[in-house]
């Protein structure tokens, strides 16, 4: 089966375990991307307030979760 066909089959699957596994993976991916982007924003001098308003969450929420972590910044 070609890659495209395989994808089409999987996407049309009604098996909950397929869909739920995808959601769980997506959540982890979102977490990774969010952290990467926030770190990038901080290293470019964005304030927590600016980051929070683009993400659509409160400043406290972002700050509580990410303050004190310098990920990519650490290697520079």
């Amino acid at each position: 089966m070609s890659q495209t066909n395989k994808l089409a089959t999987a996407a049309s699957s009604r098996d909950p375990s397929v869909g739920l596994r995808a959601v769980a993976s997506l959540r982890v991916l979102v977490e990774d991307l969010q952290e990467l982007q926030i770190d990038n924003a901080r290293s470019q001098g964005w304030s927590w307030q600016q980051i929070a308003s683009v993400l659509g969450v409160s400043k406290q929420a972002v700050h509580k979760k990410y303050a004190g972590r310098r990920l990519l910044g650490r290697r520079r």
Binding site: A22, A24, R27, V28, L29, L33, E35, N40
Partner: protein, 204 residues
């Protein structure tokens, strides 16, 4: 608590912990003890359970069905494919902007930070095979009952068969549920074990 446990019985506890960890569960319950009993194939309990038709893989599947598995720690490319997201494509784009292995580095850095932080830290240590996983009250009760069963039979040690008797006696946990789902008659199972060991025998 474990002084009187035989080598096999201790193995059951070690295996129970390993089963909990591999399911990413944050507790050791009666279901993990049952998986431990089935996994310790040297033990009398495993033999009796097999003779009674209890299958390790069925029980494992039952645990996943009832209790689920713990949180996913990294994105699964196949799972994401299913909803039309190409993880490799995402990774390529991210790496174009942020350098090689940017996603992995972020995740690793997060894991390092979480080591030092509350609940997420504990969850991380568990998922990485570190740290202590606590027994549920029922699992603790089951182990206490196994000691009591041994003493009642006049045995000076706790073997895998006593742990199994403990599971049957406790009767309320997920292990008991899965056993009854396997069609086990608890009274018959108890009799079968007691026949096998009798008072003062030296089984494992």
């Amino acid at each position: 608590m474990f002084q009187r446990f035989t080598h096999s019985a201790r193995q059951v506890v070690v295996l129970a912990q390993a089963e909990a960890r591999s399911l990413r569960h944050n507790h050791i319950g009666t279901e993990h003890l049952l998986l431990g009993l089935l996994g310790e194939t040297e033990g009398l309990a495993a033999r009796i359970l097999n003779e009674l038709g209890v299958d390790r893989d069925d029980v494992h599947q039952g645990v996943v069905d009832y209790a689920g598995a713990g949180p996913v720690n990294q994105p699964d490319a196949v799972a994401l494919d299913a909803i039309g997201i190409d993880l490799d494509a995402v990774r390529r784009r991210v790496e174009e902007a942020f350098g090689p292995n940017a996603l992995e580095r972020t995740r690793a850095a997060r894991a390092r930070t979480e080591k030092h932080r509350g609940v997420r830290a504990r969850r991380h240590r568990r998922s990485c095979g570190e740290g202590h996983i606590a027994f549920t009250p029922r699992a603790k009760k089951t182990l206490e009952l196994s000691l009591r069963e041994a003493l009642a039979l006049g045995h000076g040690y706790v073997g895998t068969e006593h742990i199994l008797l403990g599971v049957l006696r406790e009767g309320q946990g997920l292990a008991a549920l899965l056993l009854s789902r396997s069609g086990i008659d608890f009274d018959l199972a108890r009799r079968r074990i007691v026949e096998e060991i009798g008072p003062d025998s030296n089984a494992g």
